[in-house]
Amino acid sequence: MPNGNALKYTEKEIWNFLSEIPDPEIPVISIAELGVLRKVEIQNSKVVVTITPTYSGCPAMKAFEDDILKMLHEKGIENPEIKTVYSPAWTTDWINEEALIKLKNYGIAPPIRGTEDKGVLFGSTIKTVNCPRCNSENTELTSQFGSTACKALYRCKDCLEPFDYFKCI
């Protein structure tokens, strides 16, 4: 059932407050900065929020949905619809420059632009990932799969700290 409350806000205003919701795993960046929040529309007085997963099995998707519903509820917007879309497929290119710096300061090496791991097989993954702690280039890949689906595991050979790298897809 449509409700009048949605009309209290414009699409832009709703986008703005939803943009403040932090990523549940990486709280220094928001769901808008991450690129998971795609679109906010008002259709016949109903708020429709479109999101896309980083990875098909990303367990945070439920948390994203719950956080969005909670925020809308707090703003008095009832019966919203959340749509999940898979196309265009999420890419790390949607993470803006400001968010890349936030990631680095948080201790996660940000994705390196233009180094999308398109090569399928051997020898295509050689790239320099700077240690987010000491900035050394002397690092090595431990595993393509890290603590969450979107990260790879690296090790710094200078400061000897392990760290996460936000992998490019």
């Binding site: 990303c58 879309v85 898979y86 497929a89 399928v120 097989l121 051997f122 595993s143």
Partner: protein, 252 residues
């Protein structure tokens, strides 16, 4: 068979193959040979189960009888599953797992690449998303196969045996039925005959680097399109479906 029935069948095949291999990979959780690999296998399980959710939800939607992704995953019997036979093969030792996963991921890498051009926008979106994930899986599996195949005599002999043992299940990947004919004519799916040479090229390159010998085609298993499986699927489903069947109203 109507076009809608064909598409439902196709979605179940894609969804079930991801779901069953995803469940196999989840069996590795906490049993990996090293911590990094344990994490990697759980990550792969997660990607596969995510892919399965997309396809099973879509199959339920097309069916229009209110069955959800959970109903399809947890409330169907063995003969109603259409996963390809290779995805249900048991994990065995780590070498058995990486060989199975290599053959599987090389197939889906090429299939999803082709399906990104599907005239069905849900299939093409699914393929585009899944392709990014399976690219990582394929590379990961290939690296392990090379490391083990071109490793010590023992590791080489073990994975060669793994390859010999599973080979008879590979032809089933390329099986097609009436649904394929309909979907190919509508440009929704692709003729798997076109995927075969691409798959061959990828795995042959890896076998060469891994110093492994490609087994000769002999007796080849088939039957997944008719829901014919080996007994291992029943055991897998018994574990996977236990909770929702024992407690049908359970919520979390």
């Amino acid at each position: 068979m109507t076009l809608n029935e064909a598409l439902i069948n196709y979605c179940l095949r894609l969804g079930d193959s991801s779901l069953i291999l995803g469940q196999r990979m989840a069996e590795w959780c906490s049993n990996g040979p090293i911590l990094e690999e344990d994490i990697a296998m759980s990550n792969i399980a997660l990607d596969l189960i995510g892919q399965a959710r997309t396809m099973l939800s879509y199959a339920g939607e097309l069916e229009g009888e209110g069955r959800t992704e959970n109903d399809l995953a947890y409330k169907r019997l063995e003969r109603e599953f259409f996963n390809n036979l290779i995805s249900e093969r048991p994990n065995g030792h780590f070498g058995d797992t990486v060989i199975r996963n290599l053959l599987h991921s090389a197939f889906y890498y090429h299939l999803y690449s082709a399906l990104t051009k599907s005239s069905d926008k849900n299939i093409s979106a699914f393929a585009g998303k899944s392709l990014k994930e399976v690219t990582y899986h394929l590379r990961h599996n290939a690296e392990w196969v090379v490391r083990l195949g071109d490793g010590t005599k023992e590791s080489h002999d073990k994975v060669q045996q793994s390859l010999n043992d599973i080979w008879e299940y590979t032809e089933d990947l390329f099986a097609m039925n009436e649904a394929d004919e309909l979907l190919i004519s509508e440009l929704i799916s692709v003729d798997l005959i076109t995927i075969k040479p691409l798959w061959d090229k990828t795995i042959n390159e890896i076998f060469e680097r891994a110093t492994l010998t490609r087994p000769k085609d002999a007796f080849m298993q088939k039957g997944s399109l008719n829901g014919m499986h080996s007994e291992v699927l029943g055991h897998l489903l018994a574990e996977m479906q236990f909770l929702p069947r024992a407690y049908p109203d359970a919520k979390w």
